[in-house]
């Protein structure tokens, strides 16, 4: 039962084939047996999960038929959850119990989803391998020597290994899509402003966006129906009504115009991964889509622009972690400056400190124009590239990542790690929706196909992804979790 999609579980629960309590116990058992090995969860909420499950069963008995009622979920530990430790993968917040719910969490609570726990992540969402977590790396269920991708690596591994039915993630430069690709599941980053950021711990405010990490595009649509919408508590959240994202899933792809960016099939892309993507594209042609090559001429600037904008915003967003009000504080500070210095030196890991320093530098007097202002200009160029592309095509398709999951410790050079997100980052800079879905694996490791849509074209993307999944079975492949290496 636990291997089912959320949509299937929803049907089973509705048909009373299983109770939410039974389902929740099954997931908790699975977590007990596998979490030590995978390290997907930082916190497991066994007791409260069972309570919520029983309450969901009661509601169902009383006639509530909400689609996700009683379906067990895991939240990335970046979302504040009332009364539950919310660490953001950092020592800085290792002891922080949030006194409020993020809007995303609140929405899932209202929908009756059962919270199994909080998933591991790169510290403050900074990383592409889930190796920067203070709570240790997450392991890829397909090969535990390998990384699951990041920063939402815990959510991706938990979904792939059936440690939950569905999970939330956040994506600043690829943090939903890349781990989804590495872990053989579906990961959807909505347009900037489609999902509220209230209660989601900020990394780079103008890029961060929450989205579903799940087993199918249909599940992503069900989750989006809960997550999306205007939130008066987030001034950057779009004040336009959300779609019913399940409504258009069955639309035909006949006549769909697919753009293939030349720049995403260039040097650096592994030949095997390219073949998987091209095979998948021919599947779309069978469904009536037409394919044409397009240009995203400024794509090569995206990683550089991103690594100015994101650290700059992060350098300010992370200033609040000063040891004064909550979270980690160093032992016996002698004065204020000592408290600041040691609290932040000891509370943050290396990657976070690296980005705070880069961001601080980029914003410094005399450098602002050369870095931050220029990066914002590049951002506009990148958006223009997409605007131009969407005059001719409905969606843009390419690989999510240049290769399959790499081994832990394989990328020790920060810049090599930053290049992991070469295909995904531009989408954040342009504020567009993007989804990664599994295609044919390479050497037993999952490969993700990246589909990008125009702003607020979430329904179109989900339709395209769902139709592909309806006619293929790649998303149904499951990892065989072998012992791997003990951490």
């Amino acid at each position: 039962m636990i291997e089912k999609t959320a949509a299937e579980l929803s049907a089973s629960l509705a048909a009373r084939e299983v109770s939410s309590e039974e389902l929740t116990r099954a997931y908790l058992d699975r977590i007990s047996s596998l979490n030590e090995q995978l390290n997907a969860y930082i916190t497991v909420c066994a007791e409260s999960a069972l309570e919520q499950a029983r309450s969901a069963d009661e509601k169902r008995a009383a006639g509530d038929s909400s689609p996700l009622l009683g379906v067990p979920i895991a939240h990335k530990d970046i979302f504040c959850t009332n009364g539950v430790t919310t660490t953001c993968g950092s020592r800085m917040l290792h002891n922080f119990v949030a006194p409020y719910d993020a809007t995303v969490v609140e929405n899932f609570n209202k929908a009756g989803a059962v919270l199994l726990g909080k998933t591991n992540m790169d510290e403050f969402a900074m990383g592409s391998s889930n190796e920067t977590s203070y709570f240790g790396p997450v392991r890829n269920p397909w090969d535990t020597k390998r990384v699951p991708g990041g920063s939402s690596g815990g959510s991706a591994a938990a979904v792939a290994a059936d440690l939950c039915a569905m999970a939330t993630g956040t994506d600043t430069g690829g943090s939903i899509r890349q781990p989804a690709a590495f872990s053989g599941i579906t990961g959807f980053k909505p347009s900037y402003g489609r999902v509220s950021r209230w209660g989601m711990i900020a990394f780079a405010s103008s890029l961060d966006q929450a989205g579903p990490i799940c087993k199918s595009a249909e599940d992503a649509a069900l989750m989006m129906n809960v997550m999306a919408g205007h939130d008066p508590k987030d001034s950057t959240c779009a004040n336009i009504p959300a779609d019913d994202y399940t409504a258009g899933l069955e639309n035909s792809l006949s006549g769909l115009r697919i753009g293939i960016p030349k720049q995403h099939f260039a040097e650096g892309l592994s030949a095997d991964v390219e073949q998987s993507i091209r095979d998948a594209l021919s599947e779309f042609e069978k469904l009536g889509a037409t394919i044409k090559e397009i240009e995203l001429p400024n794509n090569h600037l995206s990683v550089s622009a991103y690594y100015v904008v994101a650290p700059a915003e992060a350098s300010a967003n992370l200033s609040r972690y000063d040891g004064v009000r909550y979270g980690y504080r160093c032992e016996d500070p002698v004065d204020l400056e000592d408290m600041y210095k040691r609290t932040r030196s000891e509370g943050f890991g290396d990657e976070v400190k690296r980005r705070i320093m880069v961001g601080t530098y980029a914003l410094s007097a005399g450098f602002y124009d050369a870095y931050y202002r220029k990066a914002q200009k590049v951002r506009r160029l990148i958006k223009n590239d997409f605007d131009l592309a969407f005059k001719d095509v409905d969606v843009v398709i390419g690989p999510t990542s240049p290769h399959t999951a790499f081994e832990l410790g394989a990328k020790s050079d920060p810049v090599a790690m930053y290049l992991e997100d070469i295909y995904t980052i531009a989408v954040n800079l342009a504020g567009l929706p993007g989804i990664s879905i599994p295609v044919a694996p390479v050497a037993g490791l999952p490969v993700g196909m990246h589909i990008v849509g125009d702003v607020f074209a979430e329904s179109k993307l989900l339709n395209v992804a769902h139709q592909f999944q309806k006619h293929t079975d790649w998303h149904k492949l499951k990892p065989v979790i072998t012992g791997g290496e003990a951490s």
Binding site: F79, C80, T86, C88, L93, F96, A98, P99, Y100, A102, R197, W198, G199, M200, I201, A202, A204, S205, S206, P232, K233, D234, S235, T236, A312, E313, S315, A316, L318, S319, R320, D322, V324, R325, Y326, L336, Y340, T360, L363, S364, A365, Y368, Y372
Partner: protein, 476 residues
């Protein structure tokens, strides 16, 4: 050498909104520490700002009142620095695109002439909390009640040439803000704060000298004292062959001096950048015009009207319109009494003296406008004399009953009955035979003395005109 002083003021005004600039917490003054700080004010992880539209309205109101350009597209920025009472580690402010642009206001100098002072800009920002260094056994306490309170920072051009001018500008600003009712603007409570940029240059020189910024000045009087001290200090330094260092100095009111802050505290690179959690504020003409329609009559216009309609002197009109409440009070008294000139004399004379003596605001006056108006009406209808009115006024301070009741109960009503006055006059004639003779011999000026004697006998209550008339008649 003759020196010229150049001053520019940066004035922070707390906008009197019910809630904070970016959160729903209350802004009331004087609450228990940290009782008016919610999760946003505490900068918990994940919180986001939501702009308080009332604050924007107040800022625009101010801009319109000083004839400023209103920024139709204004942008919030983050100003980064670490301090324990700054929970987010940055202050949300406005750098390149403030809500209020260039404007000006007019001050009146001591010689009665007017001078226009430029306002460079006024931008919105959030206030910090307070660090409390006492009562914590060597540690510091943090009170975040004030954190996030909306501020309007009003920056003047370096147009002020003396401490007196600076105070006049500050008072005019205060007056406009109080008229607009956009802030309590109480310097002692910190809802209006002033930093002064001061430099000197040889008279006639065009270039500015090196300036220092004086912080922590919390009364009109201290503004004058701090600037005067700083000007003298700069003169002494330069005349001794030294150079002025551009720095921030703190004013110490107890010792009446300015002191250099440690350079470390001021060597900040604030790394401003646009606040990504907020959208730019876009204001349309309809909104701006709706705010303009709400503008009250402002001090300058009201002063002109007082001169025109009530025929007051320039000076009296200036005094009576400096505070909105004072002007409202005066107009009520004038209306009630039917005599604007007497009303102006009483309000700017006896009443103001009473308030000053007791350090009271006009809204706390023990004598309301209605009672003062009645008092003046009783002078006009000859119920009491102007002199007796002073006695009644004194009584009114302690006694809150009606004016007529006080006059009645204290027996202060003017005597106009000629029979009664005749008795007094007879008595005066009998008691002062020498003076009566002198008068009869043609010494007119003695009459005044005799009238005075009669008034004294009547304890001031006799109608002096009748006394005068009867005396003449009897001595003829």
């Amino acid at each position: 050498m003759e020196w010229e002083t150049v001053i520019g003021l940066e004035v922070h005004v707390q906008l009197s909104t019910e809630s904070k600039l970016f959160s729903g917490s209350a802004t009331a003054f004087g609450a228990e520490p940290n009782t008016q700080a919610n999760i946003y004010d505490l900068a918990l992880p994940g919180v986001l700002p939501v702009l308080n539209k009332e604050a924007v309205k107040r800022a625009v109101k101010f801009g319109l009142a000083i004839g400023a350009e209103i920024g139709k597209h204004s942008v919030f920025d983050r100003k980064n620095y670490f301090y324990p009472d700054l929970p987010k580690g940055y202050q949300v402010s406005q750098l390149d695109f403030p809500t209020v642009g260039k404007g000006s206001l007019t001050i009146t100098l001591e010689d009665g002439s007017e001078k226009v002072i430029g306002v460079t800009r006024a931008h919105m920002e959030e206030d910090a909390g307070k660090s409390l260094h006492e009562d914590f056994h060597g540690m510091s306490g943090i009170d975040l009640n004030r954190a996030g309170t909306p501020l309007l920072e009003i920056v003047s051009e370096p147009d002020l040439r003396s401490a007196r001018e600076a105070v006049a500008y500050l008072k005019k600003l205060h007056s406009i803000i109080r008229y607009l009712d956009i802030s309590d603007a109480i310097m002692a409570q910190g809802s209006m704060r002033c930093d002064a940029n001061v430099s000197i240059r040889p008279k006639g020189q065009k270039e500015f000298g090196t300036r220092t910024e004086i912080k922590n000045i919390n009364s009109f009087r201290f503004v004058e004292k701090a600037i005067n001290y700083e000007v003298q200090r700069q003169q002494d330094v330069i005349e001794d062959g030294g150079e002025i260092v551009q720095e921030t100095r703190l004013y110490d009111a107890d010792r009446d001096e300015t002191r250099s802050m440690r350079s470390k505290e001021v060597a900040n690179d604030y790394r401003y950048f646009p606040e990504p959690d907020l959208l730019p504020i876009e204001l349309d003409d309809a909104f701006i015009e709706s705010v303009r329609a709400e503008l009250p009559e402002l001090p300058d216009a009201r002063k002109e009207r007082f001169i025109r309609d009530y025929e007051l002197s320039e000076y009296d009109a200036g005094v009576l319109t400096s505070e909105r409440e004072m002007a409202d009070y005066f107009e009520a008294v004038a209306k009630h009494s039917g005599d604007a000139k007497l009303a102006a004399n009483w309000v700017s004379g006896d009443l103001l003296a009473l308030l000053n003596k007791n350090n009271m605001e006009i809204v706390d006056s023990p004598i309301d406008a209605g009672r003062l108006g009645t008092l003046i009406a009783r002078i006009k209808d000859d119920t009491i004399s102007g002199k007796i009115a002073k006695t009644v006024f004194e009584a009114m301070i302690e006694d809150s009953s009606g004016v007529d009741e006080i006059i009645e109960s204290k027996g202060l009503k003017q005597v106009t009955d000629s029979g009664e006055i005749e008795q007094l006059v007879d008595q005066v004639i009998a008691n002062n035979p020498d003076q009566v003779q002198q008068f009869r011999d043609g010494k007119e000026q003695v009459l005044g003395f005799l009238v005075g004697q009669a008034m004294k006998l009547s304890q001031g209550k006799a109608n002096p005109a009748i006394v005068n008339e009867l005396l003449r008649k009897k001595m003829a």
